[in-house]
Symmetry: C2
Subunit: 413 residues, 2 copies
């Protein structure tokens, strides 16, 4: 046949694992009934009635929004109000002493993609711990950058600072730019957060490399789950990005998907923190150009929702209450899953918040397949299984560890 | 200073001409009153009360949509219903005899970008008539493709088939792939549509080049203004894309922005037409990969609006009535502008529909600047002025040609 697509296209012909598994779970629910199926596939929030959660404060604001404010274009970088508000709600009282700017994007994905494309040249490295959200890799490699992973945890289940340093060293051999992704707090798929001590060590190493002015190091924090990782104190590490040398840039991929249950409204922001005003201006122009050349404008209505929920005291209070309720629910679910896992010897990675817990096991694909026979649907990865506390109600979080343990023992002996 | 952005970034540091001019118009309105200002800047529809138009059928559907259908993720290529519906509403009864598929995108921009990236290699050419929507160029060049324009019209104000052939020849010298953009029907900024005879000639030339199996030729139709260019008959040319050789691919960048007054909801589709099933499968996989690596999913609520308005007979009828009303309004405004222009000797390009009419003149920037002193705000381009019939009410469409003619005479003597 004639290949019409370009010669360098790295086609990913696989069907989407998560959506395929979710559709099998749906069929099982139709056949066996809701009570007999555990659906731990999707990364979206479900309540204790197993109903999809769409926050009232978000969708009431949208329902009563003037239709002109939904229909009309937002400026390419986002409305000024959105830019100011996203910075306000992202940092709260933990703003670093630095210049900060933001630009609207299509979802967290759009921010991650824009930042990688802006701050690396072709063949440069993007480095990332080895427990990561799978799309990081094709975002990097389809754009002709190298993707290099390193071990996330040391033997004490702390951030593996040595392996990070090795990866950073390798990425700067004969090269000038690197983007280091940290999906924290509340990593997907593990629920792990980098603690403040580890952040100090990370910054120490980066500052050392940045003594060489030709090195240009960009930190990229994927903050998708930040609102579900604590009561505000989880943002304290952001203060550490004060007064860094101008060849160290800190960026944040902000997403409304989880924090506003606005997955389908596709709105996020790329945020930049720098001690140099010029670097921030360069950021603004580059994001504007990339937006224009990729999707033009962002979703106006979602921007307006964020502005309203950030600045209107009453709605902000109601919104925070809703978020807190679900954060506590996630914590309860995770706690029971952790406790039972410990009790029965199921090996899980440390959880600090967010939508997922990871179970370590051999032959994860086989285990996941076998679990489907028992009507538990779960996403396997290279070294384990991703259990979605966001999607599974308490009673089933109690039941799941036993099923998983039993199945791992069956498969791996 | 340290340049943090990558070394190949072609930064566009200019502020957005259209939004800047629009903001000056807004200030003039505040100062002199609505009645004394003609604002022909934005490419959005305003009614005879000079109010922004957001179609009732679209925004009522959104207002009463189940919030879960707004909040949740759509699949990466769009929901199946959206894919089927966008094909249905785009072609109506003018489907060619071919395999057809579609993939959701972020706006028309996202579709244009995806198609260019998929069907050209680096350094290949994207060719386009010289009256074009300005972002085509940076979308092409920021992605390291070459942008080549050719004269749109011949001396009879018909599509310039000879210049098209020259551009196509040049683009295939020592290269295998080319994307040829046609912003038709109802080109931005001229309102020009390629007629059926010209389409026959275009296809004849392309078929000749496609005899060489190594040539892979992609037609990209930017159909942003298609619904405002006729009563259905303007889609007849789509039938011509039947039974083409498999190294000729026809693609459409479909946009909800204008046809649903859904600019701020950022939803469109890339559509592919081919006689080869494999080429269409390749299209589906490649669009899925590009979506995943750029913005992940599309805007679920907008997809649902299109599905409802396409398939629910009653809402579809109401929607068609709304569209027809505004199409006729545009035609009335354009007609009066054309008639007066002819009468007073203002040189305009042929208008067949859409949001804009182009006035030809020398020194367009100076003319536009001088017009602002007379409170007429208009967008200059390289060879003329873009008058927005979409944004200017009838009474002002009557007044504008005189002001423009007078000012051109003042500047150019």
């Amino acid at each position: 046949m004639t290949q019409m697509i370009n010669s360098k296209f790295k086609l990913e012909k696989s069907d989407d694992l998560i959506f395929m598994t979710a559709s099998r779970a749906k069929k099982a629910i139709e056949k066996y009934g809701k009570d007999n199926v555990i659906d731990s596939t999707l990364g979206t929030l479900f309540d204790e009635n197993e109903k999809f959660v769409a926050l009232d404060t978000v969708y009431d604001t949208l329902k009563y929004m003037d239709k002109d404010l939904i229909a009309s274009y937002a400026p390419i970088s986002g409305t000024n109000e959105f830019i100011q508000s996203v910075i306000k709600i992202c940092f709260e009282e933990h703003k670093p002493d630095a210049y900060i700017s933001a630009s609207a994007t299509i979802g967290g994905t759009g921010a991650i993609r824009n930042i990688i494309l802006t701050y690396t040249d072709e063949d440069d490295y993007v480095i990332c711990p080895n427990w990561y959200w799978p799309p990081y890799k094709p975002i990097t490699t389809e754009n002709n950058r190298n993707f290099l992973t390193y071990e996330l945890l040391d033997t004490n289940y702390k951030f593996n600072i040595e392996e990070f340093e090795k990866a950073l060293d390798k990425s700067l051999e004969n090269r000038q730019r690197v983007v280091a992704i940290f999906n924290t707090p509340a990593n997907n798929p593990t629920g792990f957060s980098i603690d403040d001590d580890s952040w100090d060590k990370i910054l120490e190493i980066i500052k050392e490399k940045a003594k060489d002015d030709t090195n240009k190091i960009t930190i990229l924090i994927d903050a998708a789950y930040m609102e579900f990782a604590g009561n505000g104190e989880q943002k304290k590490f952001l203060e550490k990005f004060s007064n860094l040398k101008e060849n160290i840039l800190v960026t944040i991929a902000y997403s409304m998907s989880k924090s506003f249950t606005a997955y389908g409204l596709r709105t996020g922001a790329s945020i930049a923190i720098s001690s140099s005003k010029e670097v921030i201006e360069e950021f603004e122009y580059s994001q504007n150009t990339l937006n224009r050349c990729t999707w033009s404008n962002g979703v106006h209505s979602a921007m307006n929702v964020l502005v309203e929920l950030t600045n209107n005291k009453e709605t902000n209070k109601a919104y925070r209450k809703e978020i807190q309720e679900y954060r506590e629910l996630l914590r309860k679910r995770a706690k029971i899953f952790e406790e039972i896992s410990k009790e029965i010897g199921l090996n899980i990675l440390p959880y600090f918040g967010g939508f997922f817990i990871t179970v370590l096991c051999k032959n994860p694909k086989e285990v996941a397949k076998k679990l489907e026979d028992k009507n538990l649907f779960i996403i396997p990865n290279e070294r384990g299984l991703r259990f979605a506390v966001c999607a599974v109600k308490l009673a089933k979080c109690k039941k799941a560890p036993y099923l998983i343990k039993e199945t791992i023992d069956q498969i791996n002996g």
